[in-house]
Amino acid sequence: MNSLRELQARCYRAFLQGEDAPLREDLVDKTIPASISIRVYQNNARETYRGALAASYPVIERLVGDACFRGIARKYMLDYPSSSGDLQNFGAALPELLAELYADTGFAYLPDVAALEWAMEEVQLVEENKPLDLTALAEIDPGSYPHLRFVRSTSARLVSSRYPVLSIWRSNQPDTDTPVNLDAGSEHVVISRSGSDVALVPVAAAAAELAALIETGIPLGLAIESLAETTAADATPDIARALQDLTSARLLGRFELSPPMSTH
């Protein structure tokens, strides 16, 4: 077993990390020279991971172009090596890598676009949540509303960006080529599974803010207090509209009614 393990380790170092020399000794140098054998498998590895990333991130691939996407995929393969024989979840850290590469550049929107694409990947892999049960909600005593805790649907995600992330995504679909102004400002998108598709629904900034608070697990009363604090004194935050947005976008999956949370 030791000899098999060691041989496999030499293959890994040669195919993924480019350390060819030790493995060359192990290979038959006949019809295909050992150095060529190694190149074929190195090429396979690069193409496998590029292909897996491209399947999840077609918009990023289009935005950065083929050569750059290959470079990014190479770096991803080395920095976030695969740890599963199932490639379905490969690529989760691409937003992180793009942030590392482009945060301080004119391409700083790339991580957010990638986050949107990965959210699409995630929600298609889980069962679709039922919409929020408004009938059950109607049975709650209004006096308890501040203690309501909404819970995000397991088949929905929110991506908030200071860039027009949904417009960028839409303008980079096949057969689309509309210009986007990066200075158009923030966009917030709810991504949710919808049958055999994934739905993308834009929501207003106030809704995104409320969603972020709900995500922390605090009850509605506290969330709204917090929202009211950040709203100018002379304005009333449109909480009703925000809650409606999140409900119709199907970000909210269910609610719990619990006594005020103890803080620990």
Binding site: A45, S83, G85, D86, E128, S196
Partner: protein, 289 residues
């Protein structure tokens, strides 16, 4: 999970030509139910319970015999078998009740890191014993026989002491697994390593061969060296059809899959390829009768 409603599903994989079920074809199989004897799906694409893909597969399964073909279990690795991977596979097998379950004669991970490739083993007594033991683990967990498929390869190890065909036959004899013989892979490896593909075909016992794969490959130049690469992006080539005919004349019809994974053509092209395989099987059947 309701296993009881499996009773209505189409049964075992017939000795006929089937095609690979890939994502872009799901909708067509659900809405139009095109005629195909059976379908084969890559197991790992359906591991996530409740996913869009699995929901589609379960609907398709209502109308077609389905086999599950794994690409990532990495049976030949020195690493322990990935528990979660095997559990996911077992759960999927339970849910889909496939006619056949297959994996590869290969390895793909070391120290918990994966290459996500189907890499050849050194053909040694050590590797043979290891494969047999590991196939046993998988068959025990799944509670059924699996098939093991020969892979295309682009390297050979100096410490190999057994020809691949003898190794594969021994793995099957000792582990009780069946063999999924990929004729294209034999052709590709034969060209790459300079052996006679007929010698390979002849060495595999007929009663062990429970499925056949056919696919297209491509020739690539690395410096000045021509290498055949198993790209699954083209029609089956003439030489592979000839090998397939030779094999059929010896063993008779078997479930035969047309694999096409990249640069996918319209479904009709795949069904035509399957039609060719079906004709050859029908002829082999007549000759044997």
């Amino acid at each position: 999970m309701a296993v009881s409603d499996n009773l209505e599903r189409p049964g075992p994989i017939p000795a006929a030509a089937g095609i690979g079920l890939r994502g872009p074809y799901h909708a067509e199989f659900i809405s139009d139910s095109p005629e195909a004897a059976w379908l084969e799906a890559h197991s790992e694409n359906f591991f996530a319970p409740g996913s869009i893909a699995l929901t589609a597969l379960e609907r398709i399964r209502e109308n077609y015999p389905v086999s599950l073909h794994g690409v990532g279990l990495s049976i030949g690795s020195a690493d322990p078998i990935a528990r979660d991977h095997l559990e996911n596979l077992a759960e999927l097998v339970e849910r889909v009740q496939p006619g056949l379950v297959s994996e590869h004669l290969c390895w793909g991970s070391v120290g918990g890191y994966h290459l996500n490739d189907l890499l050849p083993l050194p053909y040694t007594e050590e590797a043979l014993a290891h494969m047999v033991e590991r196939i046993g683990q998988v068959q025990d967990r799944l509670g059924r026989k699996i098939l093991i498929e020969n892979v295309s390869s682009y390297m050979e190890f100096r410490n190999s002491t057994i020809p691949e065909w003898e190794f594969l036959a021994s793995v099957a004899a000792s582990s009780g697994c069946g063999i999924l013989l990929d004729v294209n892979n034999i052709f590709v490896s034969a060209r790459n390593h300079g052996f006679d593909p007929l010698e390979y075909l002849d060495a595999i016992p007929a009663d062990k061969i429970e499925e056949i794969h056919l696919a297209g490959h491509s020739e690539q130049l690395f410096d000045d060296h021509s290498v055949l690469v198993d790209t699954h992006n083209a029609p089956v080539c003439a030489e592979v059809w000839t090998l397939y005919e030779t094999l059929l004349s010896r063993i008779g019809p078997r479930p035969t899959l047309i694999e096409w994974d990249s640069e996918l053509p319209p479904l009709t092209v795949l069904l035509e390829e399957a039609g060719k395989a079906q004709k050859l099987m029908d002829r082999a059947h007549e000759l044997a009768a």
